[in-house]
């Protein structure tokens, strides 16, 4: 009875003491603030943009282009205000420099009686104004050219009409282009989630173990509780913490996504419209398994160092593994049926991200994700057994060296011979 409860005491002690740390509260608060800001981005931009229209002075050397341009601009760009300017070009430029106008547009007709234009502004970094102007002038030019060629407006429309192009997958149950786009958005978000969670929380576990070891409280702990139980209680405690944080963040995110009218389009983009329930389940399964895999690895790597300063160095190879998996997954988003991606999705350290990416994007036969899950579960079991032995020896080992040679030494400490 005592044995069982010890597990929970460590688990909740880890959970609560981590939950109360300033760093946890601050990161969570900042992330929530970011999500809120992101969800309300359009409204925030509106607040800044509402004040005034952009005014552009126009010098019309042809004397006939300004009127049609103003008409088109007034109908397509409400925020862009064109003003006919009577003075010279130089005077106009000076007014731009003074800040009276955003820019100066000089319109002229060339020999073929088609429009030419030159746009002056303080900087050309803000390309939206010039791009809008260009598009509008292009329209005038098209209609002028059409008039010169005696084209009717129907003929002109025909010319501008986009090609009808549709792609249809012949494989049964294959995802339609629309579904793929939706899946891509969701998989993208979830991949990021897995990536950050694994890096953040695996790091936290390694730090936690190394802190207990370097402060030497470990010897008291493992004389009260078996190291294996201690290790898993720690992993689960931090896991519970990660779930708390995720639920908070996702909850806030979901609230704003569903309550913000401006975001109708973004919701569609991210694929939250109608997500297949299986994708969500796979995401949860691979997230949890991925967490356990890396957490176990991090715990035993953390048990090998004697000083907190060495933790980062020790877990760098692990971090690189996560980054590599993430990179391949990002590549795979564009080409999910690539053979290389398929092959690497069976390597346990990449499986959580890659197999999930594939299962979300493609129509895999059921056995593929199941084999992936089994490989993951087996690797976790192997790593746990092996890691627990290293952990038991590692936590008693103090010294300057902190190389992977120590793994052998740690194993020797727990050997019975």
């Amino acid at each position: 009875m005592v044995l069982l409860s010890n597990f929970w005491i460590i688990l909740f002690h880890t959970y609560i003491s981590k939950l109360k740390t300033k760093s946890f509260i601050i990161t969570t608060a900042i992330t929530i603030a970011l999500i809120v800001a992101l969800a309300n981005l359009t409204s925030i931009i509106d607040v800044f943009d509402k004040d005034e229209n952009t005014k552009v002075a126009v010098v019309d050397q042809s004397d006939e282009l300004f009127a049609p341009l103003e008409k088109i601009t007034a109908s397509s760009n409400k925020k862009l205000e064109l003003k006919l300017f009577d003075g010279s070009e130089e005077e106009g430029k000076q007014l731009v420099k003074d800040g009276e106008y955003e820019g100066l547009l000089v319109l002229a007709s060339n020999k073929e009686k088609l429009p030419e234009a030159h746009y002056y502004s303080m900087n050309i970094a803000d390309s939206s104004v010039s791009a809008d102007l260009l598009a509008n002038i292009q329209m005038i030019k098209s209609s002028l050219a059409a008039a010169q060629l005696n084209l009717t407006s129907e003929q002109l429309t025909k010319l501008n009409e986009p090609v009808s192009f549709q792609s249809t997958a012949l494989e049964e149950n294959a995802k339609t282009a629309e579904e793929l786009d939706q899946a891509r958005g969701l998989v993208y978000v979830l991949l990021f989630l897995i990536y950050f969670a694994v890096i953040m929380y695996a790091n936290m576990i390694a730090m936690e173990v190394a802190t207990e070891k370097s402060s030497r409280v470990m010897e008291i702990l493992i004389s009260s509780v078996s190291p294996i139980k201690h290790m898993f209680a720690k992993i689960l405690g931090v896991g519970l913490l990660s779930l708390t944080q995720l639920v908070l963040l996702l909850g806030v995110g979901y609230y704003f996504l569903t309550n913000n009218k401006n975001l109708g389009s973004m919701e569609g983009f991210l694929g939250f419209g109608d997500v297949p329930i299986s994708t969500i389940i796979y995401a949860a399964v691979f997230f949890i398994l991925g967490y356990f895999l890396y957490a176990t690895l991090a715990a035993f790597l953390g048990s090998l160092v004697s000083r907190i300063e060495d933790v980062q160095q020790m877990i760098t190879p692990m971090t690189l593994l996560v980054v590599a998996g993430f990179m391949i997954a990002m590549f795979g988003l564009g080409a999910p049926d690539n053979k290389f991606v398929a092959a690497t999705s069976y390597i346990p350290f990449f499986t959580p991200m890659l197999m999930f990416m594939r299962v979300g994007m493609l129509n895999l036969p059921l056995w593929e994700p199941i084999v992936g899950i089994m490989i993951l579960a087996a690797s976790i079991a192997i790593l746990a057994v092996f890691g627990a032995r290293i952990y038991k020896g590692g936590v008693l080992m103090y010294g300057k060296s902190n190389s992977y040679k120590d793994i052998k030494k740690a194993l020797q400490l727990t050997k019975k011979d």
Partner: protein, 299 residues
């Protein structure tokens, strides 16, 4: 509730850390382990606690193996002091006591008692890193005894403490023993062991070189000490039969002799040579025994 070690051996690879150690510690006893650095004391303790597995032999307490089911009855003060630096005294001691099976409320009231006893009740809400090293040791000691263990293992409990705090802790240890706790402790300070333990074991390079009750060890050692204070030069006594060692002191000499029977001859020899202010036949000190058994390599 006897603690039994039978032919316990521990090897780290090819290195022999503890070699064939057999001891029996009866209930409510205070047992001392003596030895220099690397003698195998800490390794022995870790094996008793089950943190390390012994390569050979058997360890039992109350005829049972010591494992994690017995941990609520065992208290441990490790040689390398260790507490969470960032946690409050209250939080971590209650946590550690709960891991050893104690109820939260009870742990808190016990903790208050101990802090009061060590004259530091204000530490309850302080972080450990804010305390001085000596005070951290008091907290460490409390963490070993808070859950009222039946077997208390103290690895170098008094090292690094000032004399006032040594007395404070010694008193606490003696009180715990009176209350029925079996106590095993190690030290390289002979006087602490001599003062507190009925039974002891001197270890050297993993082997128990002397083992038994303090009285018997002294008796069987055979050699005695004589202290002579006189106004004249006594250094010639080194040539006297039966004298093993002679040490010059400020007021005279200290002799080690082969046995009590030589004392009378020496007394007769000295008397008449001048005024003798003091002549005393004494039991050998643990220090003498230790030096004799372990060799001059120590201290």
């Amino acid at each position: 509730m006897t603690l039994e070690l039978k032919n316990v051996t521990k090897k780290f690879g090819s290195f022999l850390a503890v070699d064939n150690l057999s001891i029996s510690i009866p209930e409510k006893e205070m047992f001392g382990f003596l030895g220099g650095n690397g003698a195998g004391k800490t390794t022995t303790f870790r094996m008793i606690l089950g943190i390390l597995d012994n390569t050979e032999g058997e360890i039992s307490w109350n005829n049972k193996r010591i494992d994690y089911s017995t941990s609520p009855f065992i208290g441990y003060l490790p040689e390398e002091r260790g507490l969470y630096p960032k946690l409050k005294v209250k939080d971590q001691l209650v946590y550690l006591a709960r891991l050893r099976g104690m109820d939260k409320k009870q742990a808190l009231s016990e903790l208050e008692y101990w802090l009061e006893r060590f004259h530091v009740p204000e530490y309850l809400d302080k972080k450990v890193e804010e305390l001085s090293k000596g005070n951290q040791q008091k907290i460490q000691f409390i963490s070993a005894v808070l859950h009222k263990p039946k077997l208390l293992i103290l690895d170098e409990p008094f090292s690094g403490l000032d004399p006032v705090n040594v007395e404070l802790l010694k008193e606490a240890v003696i009180d715990l023993k009176k209350a029925g706790t079996t106590i095993v402790f190690s030290s390289h300070r002979m006087e602490h062991v001599e003062e507190m333990c009925e039974h002891l074991c001197i270890m050297h390079k993993g082997r128990p070189v002397v083992h038994g009750s303090l009285k018997e060890i002294k008796k069987s050692f055979g050699k005695k000490n004589i202290t002579i204070h006189a106004d004249f030069d006594l250094s010639y006594l080194i040539k006297h039969p039966g004298v093993v060692k002679l040490k010059q002191m400020t007021e005279g000499v200290s002799l080690q002799i082969e046995g009590e029977e030589f004392a009378e001859q020496i007394l007769k020899n000295v008397v008449g040579k001048g005024f003798v202010r003091k002549f005393a036949l004494e039991e050998p000190s643990l220090h003498d025994i230790f030096i004799e058994k372990v060799g001059g390599s120590f201290e």
